[in-house]
């Protein structure tokens, strides 16, 4: 075995991210790791890459026990990781990023820029990129950055390669190039761990698959002997229908929000979208196609290049999130930790922040204990008491607290970016129920999600966004992932 | 012909009135006296008719130094033979003062006056000036190059001796005193305190039971004094390294309802005012600001070939309680340092209320 991971557990504070996960990687194979968001895939990969040590369990590379607590050590042992989040440094050139940590040097010990430049061209060509190696990395497009990241990982003389959702930001042609690269690595006898939840590409590329669920080992299959349905059932643990509340049977109600011919900065557009009083509408699409641009345009009131936003029949003309909140809109951001939570503050304060917006600074701040307690109970937020720091809560409970923030305020429209990212399965179904309850009570919900099953299961309508334009609309429940994907990809990848 | 004669006579008479010796060359203040055994300066008189003088000052961060520089500038303005007086202020930075002196050398001034910020740091630059044939006049505080032209210094230990002597007398040779000192590690403060210790050797029953550093500042002095006075209820006298701190102590005593005790002061208008108003038992050692004036005079004497001793020391007698009115200037503000040689209008301009 090239790599054996045995009985790995990992906890962050009170949150148990992994419980007794095992996995074995053969040389010359592509091994998929599959699981929902929050199932622990990324945590496992970070342990394998040495970013942080496991709480317990063992890792063996070619039979040798290893103990890593820095990424460098793993890399030295022949593990090359292409992380999900970009770790390229925007202030360095492409060549400097490619050779970071293993710079080529002149006899004088200085960085050999000339040689790095030449080598970089060769490496970039291998992943099909024609870039000036001297260019600032921060100036590249997202897909280009991702390919540089992949190039950086692949160029290393490693035996084990870890790809953490590499295709999330890639176009069709780039993805195809990547698959060629991976097949080439496999042919050279390397072991590849491949994380993705795009099932079709797993069947296209991988030899075997390990499925995680809620931080635990849920199954191991040879790719040729399994089916998509079996994998989904293993991954989710129950059929999707049980997870989601029933769809609404009545009509969408009168239109609350309407986007007309909206063009957001950096995208072709236009967006045309209407949301009814009782609807949950989802935005689907490939990574970075302008979904976030749309939600933020509504909430922050970024001056749209053209078009208009009508909210309850009147045009929205605010600037900044404070204006959005004043208009009666609440937003739960995609990056919960960085943009949503006040980690050192108490749960109560985190919830009560919803009441602060728009108040004069000299006015008394209310922390209505009863309302907060009521929301905590309604959302079943599990905590010791409301004075507890929110950082100590699990992802699901943190997400519910953010929901509570807007429920306490009483918004007229809720925007939820990735409502269940990093949320365990139990909390997921509770969150879905609350969102449905909101829509039923007349607060429409707009969500974005990378998880097509989530959009299909939860939403009344799924609107597909491509290059900042609405290119299709599908009813929730009855649509298939394939239909939606086809619309999202457009003519490119059929 | 007649006109010229009259002019010459006039100059002569004026010279006679102010100084008996050489007609055109001003005399040093009589409170400055040559140190015993000091050689006389034996540089030849300059052949120039007018001089460019350079003055390197360490800083003007306290009122004493401000007044000293004013005295220097004023004296220079009185002498038409001084065509230019370049004043370089190092802003308290000794490193910069070295450069200032080097810069003055490079500009080829006829004499360099220095109010040093360090005893040793400037020696290299001063040696360089001396070697270049530029007379160097060190005054107000000490620098110790091997070669220099003239030094005019105060005996700081005398400041301490005057105060300690006063305390010993007024306490009848017995009692506890505390000392409020200047900046920790400052050489002037150390010299002053050395003077105190010299005197107290003869009075074994007077004990310095505690000391604190008030940085010569009123604010710090007040905090230190307050802490010490509250901590030591049994204190009969205070030795202070500066008048502002004495003033602070007086206020502390008053604010805390404690009886006034003998305290040493300083010859500063603000202190004299308090001394008078509060009727303190005190003494006012003088640290003259006319060093600035004397520095210019010394430079002129050297350049004109007039006799002058190399090392000179000033020892003005301290101000006693019955002399306050002779020195105190109620028309000027607290920042004025008494015993100035500046004319009244200049003083009023600087310190007018």
């Amino acid at each position: 075995m090239l790599l054996e991971v045995v009985d790995i557990a990992k906890s962050f504070g009170s949150v148990q991210a992994l419980r007794g996960v095992s996995l074995a990687l053969k040389p010359g194979s592509v091994h998929a790791v599959l699981g929902e968001n929050g199932a622990g895939k990324s945590t496992l990969m970070k342990i394998i890459s040495g970013v942080f040590p496991a709480s317990s369990g063992t890792i063996r590379v070619e039979g040798q026990m290893v103990h890593w607590n820095r990424a460098e050590q793993a890399r030295a042992a022949g593990v090359s990781t292409i992380f999900q989040e970009f770790i390229l440094l925007p202030n360095l050139s492409v060549a400097e990023n490619l050779f970071l940590g293993r710079e080529l040097r002149t006899p004088l010990g200085l960085v050999d820029r000339q040689r790095q430049r030449e080598e970089s061209r060769r490496i970039l060509a291998r992943v099909g990129l024609d870039l000036d190696p001297d260019v600032l990395t921060g100036r590249l497009r997202v897909a280009e950055q991702q390919m540089v990241e992949i190039a950086k990982g692949v160029m290393r003389d490693a035996r084990i390669f870890v790809f953490d959702e590499p295709t999330a930001a890639l176009g069709d042609r780039e993805a195809a190039r990547l698959f060629d690269l991976i097949r080439q690595l496999r042919a050279e006898g390397k072991g590849i761990l491949y994380i993705s939840h795009r099932l079709p590409e797993l069947f296209e590329l991988c030899d075997e698959v390990t499925v995680l669920k809620d931080g635990q080992f849920a199954g191991h299959f040879a790719m040729q002997e399994t089916t998509a349905t079996e994998l989904v059932t293993t991954m989710v643990g129950r059929t999707l229908d049980q997870l989601f509340p029933p769809h609404r049977t009545g009509g969408p109600g009168e239109t609350v929000l309407e986007l007309r011919d909206l063009r957001t900065t950096g995208f072709a557009g236009p967006v045309n979208l209407a949301i009814g009083r009782h609807e949950i509408v989802g935005l689907a699409g490939l990574e970075g196609q302008g979904q976030i641009g749309i939600t933020r345009s509504i909430f922050e009131g970024h001056a749209p290049e053209t078009g208009e936003i009508l909210f309850e029949g009147l045009p929205l003309g605010h600037a900044g999130p404070a204006g959005g909140v004043a208009a009666g809109i609440g937003l739960i951001p995609e990056d919960r930790k960085a943009e949503g939570l006040f980690l050192p503050l108490s749960v109560a304060r985190n919830i009560a922040v919803g009441l602060l917006s728009g108040k004069g600074l000299a006015q008394p701040a209310s922390v209505p204990a009863e309302d907060i307690a009521a929301q905590i109970q309604r959302l079943r937020i599990r905590l010791r008491d409301a004075a507890q720091a929110i950082s100590e809560l699990s992802g699901g409970n943190q997400q519910k607290a953010l929901l509570a923030r807007w429920l306490v305020r009483g918004v007229k429209l809720l925007i939820c970016e990735e409502p269940t990212r990093g949320v365990d399965i139990g909390a997921k179904s509770e969150i879905y129920a609350i969102l449905r309850e909101l829509a039923d009570s007349g607060v429409p919900v707009l969500i974005t999600s990378r998880e097509l099953p989530e959009l299909i299961g939860l939403c009344d309508r799924i609107v597909v966004v491509r290059d900042g334009a609405t290119v299709g609309s599908f009813p929730g429940g009855t649509s298939t992932e394939e239909e939606i994907m086809a619309a999202a990809i457009g003519g490119q990848r059929a | 012909m007649t006109l010229r004669k009259i002019l010459l006579t006039g100059t002569f008479l004026a010279g006679l009135a102010s100084a008996p010796a050489l007609a055109e060359v001003p005399e040093l203040n009589s409170a400055l006296s040559p140190v015993e055994g000091s050689p006389m300066v034996d540089l030849p008189a300059s052949t120039k008719d007018s001089f460019v003088l350079g003055f390197s000052n360490i800083s003007v961060v306290n009122t004493w130094r401000v007044q000293m520089v004013e005295e220097l500038k004023y004296e220079a303005s009185l002498h038409p033979e001084i065509s230019e007086m370049i004043v370089a202020d190092a802003g308290g930075d000794v490193n910069r003062q070295v450069s200032d002196i080097e810069s003055l050398i490079a500009r080829g001034v006829d004499a360099i006056l220095v109010a040093p910020g360090s005893e040793v740091a400037l020696n290299g630059a001063l040696e360089k000036a001396y070697a270049a044939g530029i007379p160097t006049i060190i005054f107000s505080s000490n620098a110790t190059p091997e070669n220099y032209t003239v030094k005019l210094l105060a005996d700081d230990a005398q400041f301490g001796r005057d105060g300690a002597k006063f305390l010993a007398d007024v306490l009848g040779g017995k009692g506890n005193i505390i000392s409020i000192r200047g900046i920790s590690g400052n050489s002037i403060d150390n010299d002053r305190f050395r003077g105190v210790e010299e005197v107290l050797v003869d009075y074994p029953d007077i004990k310095v039971i505690d000391e604190g550093f008030g940085d010569w500042a009123y604010d710090k002095g007040k905090q230190v004094c307050e802490s010490l006075l509250i901590a030591h209820p049994d204190v009969q006298g205070i030795w202070s390294s500066g008048g502002a701190m004495t003033q602070a102590c007086a206020e502390v005593l008053e604010e805390n309802g404690l009886p006034m005790i003998p305290m040493t002061g300083e010859a500063n208008n603000g202190f004299l005012r308090i001394w008078k108003e509060k009727d303190l038992e005190s003494v006012g050692p003088i640290s003259p600001t006319w060093f600035g004036q004397q520095g210019v005079i010394a430079a002129l004497r050297v350049l004109e070939g007039a006799p002058i001793a190399r090392d000179n020391l000033v020892n003005p007698a301290p101000i006693l309680k019955d002399q306050i009115d002779a020195f105190y200037r109620p028309d000027l503000n607290d920042s004025y340092w008494v015993g100035s040689t500046l004319p009244d209008e200049k003083l009023k301009e600087l310190y007018g209320k």
Binding site: P321, G323, L361, A362, A365 | V66, S227, E251, N256, S335
Partner: protein, 325 residues
């Protein structure tokens, strides 16, 4: 009772003790103050007398006021190093005859207004130009000290309004008037931080700027108010300090800049987190002032005081991080 149950209970007690210990250690000013008082009680009992403690209280007032002000930008993840400059300018200005002889409201209004203007200027650059707070306020401080030299012509002096003197040095019986000023100011600041929208929003902004912005809070306005209040508190500290000294002097307040940061850290507040509240900050200021007196009393010179003060800042900051973790 079974052995397992006993063990469990022991563990519970241990956990609770640890939590209690953490709570007590959370605001380093309290254990530090207790330690200092204990040391004083043993080696210098006279420092423990009530009159002396009241004097230390009065001495600590300017530092405490400055530190309360300093804690506001620090909670919002900024810093104000310009308070020394504000104090220097206010001091020499109040000693001008126009102020000393003029109506009393001038001597009271000018420092506060001036502090507010300086705070506004700082915040404008920090919140809108987004320049480094450390360097901006440092630059403003250098400027203001220059201005104070200009105002005084390098020769400060004069006297200040009698009411200002009374404010700083007067007493009600044994109680210093300045202490009363501090109590009122601290109560107002404490109330503001705990109860007002500003206080809650400032804490949120310090915890996460992005989240506060997306939560619809007026993040830049808060920073402006925090810096203006910091300036106003510096102005108030300057009034007390000037009244205490009774005259103009150069570089007054220079020591207060770093000492205020130290008091804030000691009081349990660090960048972005105001755990100790106003009371902690005041306790921190009192502890530092008491320490200075204790060490003077012990005959330890300035060097030892500086070394101890440095160690205290580092220790308090390390404790704060330990508490967060």
């Amino acid at each position: 009772m079974t052995r397992a149950a006993t063990a469990e209970q022991g563990q519970k007690i241990r956990a609770r003790t640890l939590a209690l210990l953490r709570g007590a250690m959370a605001i380093p000013a309290w254990p530090a103050l207790i330690l200092l008082l204990a040391i004083a009680a043993v080696v210098q009992p006279r420092l423990m007398s009530l009159p002396f403690l009241l004097i230390v209280l009065r001495q600590s007032v300017p530092l405490a006021l400055a530190a309360i002000g300093q804690s506001l930008p620090m909670i919002g993840r900024s810093i104000d190093l310009s308070i020394g400059g504000v104090i220097a300018v206010v001091n020499v200005t109040l000693a001008l005859p126009v102020f000393a002889g003029g109506p009393v409201w001038m001597s009271l209004a000018f420092p506060l207004a001036f502090g507010a203007v300086v705070g506004l200027f700082n915040a404008g650059l920090i919140a809108f130009v987004r320049a480094s707070a450390v360097v901006v306020t440092l630059g403003v401080s250098v400027m203001l000290v220059g201005v104070s030299y200009l105002i005084s012509g390098g020769a400060p002096g004069g006297s200040v309004h009698p009411f200002v003197r009374e404010l700083a040095t007067g007493r009600w019986g044994m109680l210093p008037v300045a202490g009363g000023v501090l109590v009122v100011a601290a109560l107002m600041a404490g109330l503001m931080l705990r109860r007002s929208t500003f206080g809650h929003a400032l804490h949120a902004t310090g915890a996460s700027y992005s989240a506060a912005w997306l939560g619809g809070l007026a993040v830049r306005k808060e920073l402006v108010v925090a810096h203006m209040l910091s300036g106003i508190f510096a102005g108030l500290a300057a009034i007390i300090l000037t009244g205490y000294i009774g005259t103009g002097t150069l570089n007054l307040g220079a020591d207060l800049v770093m000492a205020s940061v130290a008091a804030v850290v000691l009081g349990g507040t660090t960048f972005g987190l105001g755990a100790g509240g106003v009371l902690g900050v005041v306790a921190g200021a009192f502890a530092l002032t008491f320490l200075a007196n204790l060490m003077t009393g012990l005959g330890a010179g300035k060097p030892a005081q500086l070394i101890v003060q440095g160690a205290i800042i580092a220790g308090a900051a390390a404790l704060a991080r330990w508490r967060e973790a």
